[in-house]
Symmetry: C2
Subunit: 203 residues, 2 copies
């Protein structure tokens, strides 16, 4: 049964089915490399395409690619431009559509500021980690949080994962995708697709 | 509450949580191209890595890459060998682990025959399509089917989708991932990750 139109319950139900107040950041610094050193990882151009298409599929408000390396930001901006307004826009309109909400930022703070300036409030921050922590929350609980008021930022680390301090400062920590099967090495683009589906799929 | 150990209900519950009797085929022929012509698409080497890791994450029995092009089969076999026993096995053992159940076949019939010869029975065949058909089944129903006896083959088309005849001959047709949001252009590697999660995630 649906709640009566216009009521708070109705608004919450509709909101729970839309991703417009949820944003996603793909973070290239600070992340770990194979040797557990903190580095700026390289942008994988295929991640840009794949994740933009997943974001579009689930109606995500904005997709941010975060890197402090100016040359890499320029590269991503050129890719995005090619598909948004260049030859790519004619060649593949579905890709153009996917990339319309894609942005490039220098730092995670810049992402938070951009969301705050566009929506009038800072987002709550949510990270995933391959490890389960005492404060990790499940996907059902997170769906409830996302259906409430406010903006949200899902943060994903590249390389060998987000620097520990970023994880600790996040408002919410999501449970690992498959906690207990002994193998946890999904590509970040696959993890993002699965997590968006768990949090936002039509049910 | 769990059913008593050793009972049929217990076996079915365990089976429902394992992917060992589920196999996956990534099909490069017969598929459509952009102009709706039937073609053999090129193998994307990144698909091989991404999908192998998703299969390993969900415990899939075997991952088959299907192409009638001998040069492409050779290419995939070289990639798989590099990570299984070549330098890659030392460099990245988690990738080696992911690729251990990866095989290359000439045709879809060869995949079915391989499964039949290894397990003593042909698999039921399951395809997904971006379009909903009258006989499409949902993910809850499919989980029940997969928890029952027998081998299963999930088939995914590359390019612009599996040739219609292959879809029509399949035993089951899975419902589209996001049927009613107006945008349905996920990369096949993302669609596979989401579908394996829906069918096999620990709950």
């Amino acid at each position: 049964m649906h709640p009566p139109p216009g009521t708070a319950a109705d608004k919450q139900e509709k909101r729970g089915k839309s991703g417009a107040h949820i944003h996603l950041a793909l973070i290239h610094f600070p992340v770990y490399n194979k040797n557990r050193e903190i580095v700026a990882s390289s942008v994988t151009t295929l991640d840009v395409h794949d994740i933009a298409r997943a974001c579009k599929t689930y109606g995500i408000g904005g997709f941010y690619i975060v890197t402090p390396l100016a040359a890499q930001r320029l590269l991503v901006e050129r890719i995005v431009q090619h598909w948004q307004t260049g030859y790519g826009a004619q060649y593949n309109p579905t890709r153009q559509e996917a990339l319309l909400n894609t942005r490039v930022e220098n730092t995670l703070d810049d992402v938070v500021e951009d969301i705050a300036s566009r929506f009038g409030e800072k987002p709550r921050t949510i990270v995933t980690d391959a490890t389960a922590f005492p404060r990790s929350v499940g996907y059902g609980k997170m769906r409830d949080v996302l259906a409430g008021p406010g903006q949200n930022l899902l943060m994903f680390g590249t390389g060998w994962g987000l620097e520990r301090g970023v994880v600790q400062r996040a408002d919410y920590l999501l449970a690992p995708i498959q906690a207990n099967n002994g193998y946890n090495h999904l590509p970040v683009r696959a993890a993002i697709a699965i997590i968006l589906d768990r949090l936002l799929a039509n049910r």
